[in-house]
Symmetry: C2
Subunit: 172 residues, 2 copies
């Protein structure tokens, strides 16, 4: 059960998963539970920083199969409703400072700005109470959304979610 | 009593004003009370939109002495602690969408990104209970802060505050 939607500005991934939303929430908000699933294999997440409050930092560092580390950028939490909604953006640094410098603006490595929200809702499945999981990513313009889609948003976020669900089923 | 401080990234204006912080808060958060003071004369603020919640819109439109209207951009509230702290940014649009498009990024009219906070604290003055008023504006880089300073941050925000205080004293 998978649904991907791409309006011109936003990317959305909606999935029904047969694990409780409280477990999904923990996997998104506890560093030790985020590391194992956050990055699709064979890449790894080797570090992350979570200061779970509005204005707090969310950042992670990936490692390639060849052992090259790659910071994935620093984000700032905006909305935190336990077991229900988590929103952060890379348009702001911690304490809400704008992230994009004039120097970097317009250069090829500027990447793209986004605001991501994970929404979790109870959802009855054949095997019990599962979760309706929706990831929504807002961009400033269609070009940024297209760039993010081309980087593999749907496959990447979907594969990471699969890894998370498998981990939860093994027991966390 | 005025103090302006400019680190390389931030601009700050601290003033002691002899009006209560609850009145200052209302002037920042009620459209009808914001219009008369928000823009240093002879410019006028002719419209503003305030959706006072995290993720809500804050925008205003100015009019030059010659009658030319000029939208001052759309911002998004981040922190709202009544009578104490108000934070918004123009790095995000309402609902936390990043504001800076790839198209605009790097162009001369990109302006600069900022996050502004108004902090209000009780402060005893000779004439009663006043307010310690601090406006802090965070930028992504020193170039943006310098651009904002050159546009007259201190004089502009100070003059607007003077207008607000005069209005409160006349009765709101």
């Amino acid at each position: 059960m998978s649904k991907a939607d791409c309006s011109s500005l936003d990317l959305t991934l909606t999935r029904i998963v047969d694990v409780p939303k409280e477990a999904v929430w923990r996997c998104w908000t506890e560093p030790a539970l985020l590391l194992p699933w956050f990055c699709p294999q064979p890449w790894k997440t080797i570090a992350c920083e979570i200061d779970l409050r509005p204005g707090g930092i969310f950042s992670s560092t990936m490692q390639s199969p060849e052992g090259v580390t790659m910071p994935t950028g620093v984000g700032c939490y905006l909305e935190i409703i336990p077991n229900q909604r988590l929103t952060w953006t890379n348009a702001l640094l911690p304490h809400y400072r704008p992230s994009l410098t004039l120097e970097k603006c317009g250069s090829d490595d500027a990447g793209f700005l986004f605001t991501a929200t994970i929404d979790l809702q109870d959802h009855k499945t054949d095997t019990g109470l599962g979760t309706r999981y929706t990831a929504t990513v807002l961009h400033a313009d269609a070009a940024s959304a297209a760039k993010h889609a081309a980087m593999g948003f749907e496959a990447g976020w979907g594969a990471a979610l699969d890894q998370m669900v498998a981990m939860i089923k093994q027991g966390i």
